[in-house]
Amino acid sequence: MSFDITKSSIPKIAVTLREKKVSSKELTEAYLKRIKTYSRLNSYITVMENEALKQAELFDKQGYKNSDSILKGIPVSLKDIFMLKGFKTTCASKMLSNHVSVYDATVTERLKNNGAVILGKNNMDEFAMGSSNEHSFYGPVLNPWNEKMVSGGSSGGSAVAVSAGLSLISYGTDTGGSVRLPASYTGICALKPTYGRVSRYGVVAFSSSLDQPGPMARNIEDLAIAYDAVAGRDVKDSTTSKTSFESVYAYLEKNIFGKQDAYSGKCIGIPKDLLKEGVSPDVLKSFEETVLELKKAGFTFKDIKLPNAKYALDVYYIINPGEASSNLARYDGIRYGYRASDFDDLKGLYKKSRTEGFGDEVKRRIALGTFVLSAGYYDAYFAKAAKVRRLIRLDFENAYKECDLVLVPTAPTTAFKIGEKTSDPLTMYLSDIFTVPVNLAGIPSLAFPVSVSSDGLPVGMQLLGKHFDEKTLFEVASVMQHKRPDWFNRVSVE
C-alpha cells in the first residue's frame, strides 16, 4: 500500500478506494497483519479473518461509486457485546464463550448495510462491568502507550484497536464511561450519544436506562461518520427517540470543515466544584491547557454549578447493579450459554451454571443489585437513588440555561498499573467520577484527547452537551482538532 493506514482517515481512504489506488482487500490484509503483530495487546477476542477478506473482496468486486456509503470497504471492529449473526458474541465471559449469535444487532446491521468490513470482536470487561478491562475471561487488554498500564474499560479492546491502528474505527458501549474512559487512557476520540439516539437492540444489556453504543475513532471526521452510520430511531428498541436524526458529518462538511477559524459564539460551562478533589496534577494541567486553547479559539467560559453531581457515583452504584442483576437473570444455561455439568436438581443447575459461568466482578454486581431491589430495601435504595438521579439531570438542564456545553476531564487520573486497583473495587469505581453523571442525566458526551502527561500517558477531556445536541459537541471538537492537530490522529505504536 502506498500510504500508512495508521495515519489516514475514512474520507481520505474513501477517495483512494474510488480512485482504485487501494482495495478493501489490501486494507483488510494490512489491518489483519497489524492485529497479529500486536496480538499481545489482547485487543481482539475473535478475529474474523476469512469473513472479513470475503466481504472486502466482494465490495472490491462491486466497486465504489460516489453514491455508495463512505463506509463501504472500510475495516471496522466491534466490542464483543454486539450480536453478529453466525459468529460468536462472548461478552468476554465464560458464560457466553461458545455462544453463536442468532441475529444481528441493529448497529451491526446498519454497518453491514453501509458496507463496512468487520474485522472482529474486541475484548472488554466481562458483561461491560469494569473500568479497566482487567475483568475479562480472555485476560486484560494492555495499553499500547505503556503495556504495564490498563487500557481502561469496559470498551478497552475497542479503544486499543483504534489507538494502535488495529482497525480504523470501532464501536463500544458506554454505561458509566465505558467508551470515554478507555478513549482517554489510549489517546483517541469517543462519543457517548444522548440516551435513545443509538439502538440498544442486539447489545447485551448491562444497565438498560444507562447503556448507549458509542463510536470510537482517532479524529473527529471519522467519529462523525461512524456515528452517522448507526444513529437514529429503531422500532426494535422502544427507548430510541422518535426525533429525527440528521447526518452530523454532512453538517460538519457544509458548515464547519475549513471554516473552523470563523467559528465562535459558544459558551462553555465549567463546574469548578467538581475539580476540587481527587484530580491528578497532570490532568489538571491538561485541563487548563485545554481551556486556554478554547479561549484562544474564541470560546467564552462560565462557572456553573452541578450541586448534585457529587452524588453521581452513589446513585450509579445503586441503579446500575439493580438493573444489571435483572438483565443477567436470563443466563442459566437452559436455552444457550454455559451449562454446568455437575448438579443434582433444577436449583443446582441454575446456581452452578451461573456461579461457574460468571466472573467475580459480575457476581459481585449481581449480588449488589439483588440487594438494592429486594423487598424492604427498594424504596430506601433504588427508588431514592432514582430521585437523586432526577436532581442530577435537572442540574444539567439548569446549567444549560447559562451555557451551551460543559467541559470536564474524562478521568481524574491517567491510566494506572494493571492490578493496582483490582483488589479494591471501590477505588476502581472512582475512575468514573466525571463520566457517570452524563449517563445518569442521559446527555451526550464527546471525549477527545489533549496533551500527554508527564509520564507519557494520554489525557482526555469531555464535552458534555444538551440532550440531542451532539452537533454542538462535534463543532467544538472539530475546532479543537483544527487548532491542535497534534492532539489528534496519534498512533500509539508503529
Binding site: M83, L96, V102, S326, Y331, R335, A375
Partner: protein, 474 residues
C-alpha cells in the same frame, strides 16, 4: 363460632391477538413445541420488548367494560424470579401503576338478587412458557412465552363458592362478548386463581388468606373453594391458625393440597421496566375504544326486559350468550311474539343444544325457519303439539316448516263445520262421559277434547273443539 367466607379471584385471560405481547411471533395455540419463537421471547442476549398495540386496545376495552378507571399513564414493571418457563428470568408485568383500577361487575347472587363485585385492577402482562414432566426430567416449550395476558383482580367481595362461580362465569361472558379473549379454558387461555380466607362473623379484620392456583373450570372452582372453606373452618374450630400459603386443587380427590412450603414469601424485586416507556391512554384513544364496545349482557338483559316485556329470568337466560340473544331477537322481529318465541327457544331449542352439546351457531334451524314455524302456530295454522312434531322433523331435514306441514297434511282443520261434525260424532258415543260431565266432573272435558283430537288426527284446533263441546253440552 360462625365464620364469614371471603373470596377474591385473580383471572388471567389471553388477549385475542395474532402475535405475542412483545414480539411478532404467532400466539396461536397447539403448534409443535418451540416453533413460534424468536430471539425476543427466548431471551437471547441483547433483545428488547416492543409493545403490541392491539393487546393494549383489547385490554383497555376489557377494563372499560368492567367499569374501571383507566390510568392516564401506566408503567410496566419487571417481576424477577428464576423458573425454566420464564426465559428472561423476569416477567414483564405492571405493578405500581397498572392500566386500570377500581371497577365493578354485577352478578346474580343466590337469592336472585344483583350483587356488585369490585374489580381492584386490570393490568397487562406476558405469559410464561409451558413445562411438561416425566420421571426423567422436565421439558420447556416456549411457544406460549410472551403471549399477551390481561390480569383481572377482584376485590375480596365474594362470600360463597357459588358467587365465585357466578363472577367467573360473568367475566367469561363479558370477555366473549367483547371478543377480547377466546375464553377456551381447555386451551388455558382463561385461568383463575382464588384467594380464600375466613373471618368471624361481625369482625372487621380479614383472616389469613390462602391462594389456590389454576382452577380452570367452573366445577373445579366451586369444589376447591367449598373444600378449602371447610378445611379452614376445621382448622380454626380446632384452635389452630391458618398458614399463608399457596395450594393446588387435586381434581381426582376433590381436595386442595399444599404446595411445597417456602421459608419466606416470594421476593420479586419489582422495579419499573427500563426498556418500555410509560403507556399513555389519551381521551381520543379511550373514546375510540369505548365506541367499539358492543351492547354488554347486563345492558342487553335490561333492554330486553323493557323492550319485550319478558321477565328477569327469561332475559337473563337469553342474554347470557351473545349469539343466542341475537337469534332470539331475530325470531321476535319476524314473529312479533316475544313471549312465545322465548318459550320456544328456552324449551325446544335449548333442549337440542344441550343434548347435542352444540352452540346456537351450529344449530340447524335458522332463526327465519323457526320464526316461520312459530308464526304458523300464532296464526292458528297448526297447533302447539303439531308444531313440536314439525320442529323435530325440521331437525332431521333441511325442509321448512311450511313444506313439512304441506307434505304431511298437518294443517289444522280450519273449517268449523268439519270439526263440529267430529264433535257431534264423539258426543254420540260418549254418553257415559257426558253424564259424568253434567254431574260436575269438569275434567271429563279434557278427555272428550282428547278423543276429538284423536279422531281428527290431531289436526283440530283444540280451543275450537273445547268451545264447541261446551256449547253443545251446555
Amino acid at each position: 363460632m360462625k365464620y364469614q367466607v371471603v373470596i377474591g379471584l385473580e383471572i388471567h385471560a389471553q388477549l385475542l391477538t395474532n402475535s405475542k405481547m412483545f414480539c411478532s411471533c404467532s400466539s396461536k395455540f397447539g403448534d409443535a413445541p418451540n416453533t413460534n419463537i424468536c430471539p425476543v421471547c427466548t431471551a437471547q442476549p441483547g433483545t428488547l420488548p416492543v409493545l403490541n398495540s392491539r393487546a393494549v386496545e383489547l385490554a383497555i376495552k376489557t377494563a372499560l367494560a368492567l367499569n374501571c378507571k383507566i390510568n392516564r399513564e401506566s408503567i410496566f414493571a419487571r417481576k424477577n424470579y428464576f423458573y425454566p418457563d420464564l426465559p428472561k428470568g423476569y416477567q414483564i408485568s405492571q405493578y405500581d401503576r397498572p392500566l386500570a383500577e377500581k371497577g365493578w361487575v354485577e352478578i346474580c347472587s343466590k337469592e336472585g338478587e344483583s350483587k356488585k363485585i369490585g374489580i381492584t385492577r386490570v393490568h397487562l402482562e406476558e405469559d410464561a412458557g409451558k413445562n411438561t414432566h416425566n420421571e426423567v426430567g422436565s421439558y420447556v416449550d416456549l411457544n406460549r412465552a410472551g403471549a399477551p395476558l390481561v390480569e383481572i383482580v377482584s376485590e375480596p367481595d365474594m362470600s360463597s363458592p357459588q358467587e365465585a362461580v357466578s363472577y367467573f362465569k360473568k367475566l367469561k361472558l363479558l370477555l366473549e362478548c367483547l371478543e377480547t379473549c377466546a375464553c377456551n379454558m381447555e386451551e388455558g387461555n382463561l385461568r383463575c386463581d382464588a384467594n380464600i380466607s375466613l373471618m368471624p362473623v361481625g369482625s372487621k379484620t380479614f383472616g389469613t388468606k390462602v391462594e389456590i392456583k389454576n382452577l380452570n373450570s367452573f366445577r373445579f372452582l366451586e369444589k376447591a373453594i367449598s373444600y378449602e372453606v371447610q378445611r379452614q373452618t376445621d382448622v380454626l374450630n380446632a384452635g389452630g391458625t391458618i398458614e399463608q400459603e399457596t395450594r393446588l386443587f387435586d381434581s381426582s380427590n376433590d381436595v386442595t393440597k399444599s404446595m411445597r412450603k417456602k421459608e419466606q414469601a416470594n421476593d420479586y424485586k419489582y422495579f419499573p421496566e427500563p426498556d418500555l416507556m410509560p403507556l399513555l391512554a389519551d381521551d381520543d384513544l379511550l373514546r375510540k375504544i369505548k365506541d367499539s364496545i358492543p351492547e354488554l349482557p347486563d345492558a342487553k338483559k335490561h333492554r330486553m326486559m323493557t323492550q319485550y316485556l319478558i321477565g328477569a329470568y327469561d332475559a337473563e337466560v337469553l342474554s347470557s350468550n351473545t349469539m343466542l340473544a341475537s337469534y332470539y331477537e331475530s325470531v321476535v322481529l319476524r314473529t312479533g311474539e316475544p313471549k312465545l318465541s322465548s318459550n320456544w327457544i328456552q324449551t325446544e331449542v335449548m333442549r337440542v343444544l344441550n343434548e347435542k352439546k352444540i352452540e346456537i351457531s351450529d344449530f340447524c334451524i335458522s332463526s327465519d325457519s323457526l320464526a316461520e314455524l312459530i308464526k304458523m302456530v300464532k296464526n292458528g295454522l297448526i297447533n302447539q303439539n303439531t308444531a313440536k312434531e314439525v320442529f323435530n322433523d325440521m331437525l332431521g331435514s333441511s325442509k321448512s316448516a311450511k313444506e313439512i306441514v304441506a307434505e304431511k297434511g298437518l294443517s289444522q282443520i280450519q273449517d268449523e263445520s268439519a270439526i263440529e261434525k267430529i264433535v257431534t260424532e264423539v258426543i254420540e258415543v260418549s254418553a257415559e262421559q257426558i253424564k259424568q260431565y253434567k254431574e260436575g266432573k269438569t275434567n271429563v272435558m279434557g278427555y272428550l277434547v282428547g278423543v276429538v283430537m284423536k279422531k281428527s288426527k290431531g289436526k283440530a284446533n283444540p280451543s275450537v273443539v273445547n268451545a264447541l263441546l261446551k256449547k253443545k253440552l251446555g
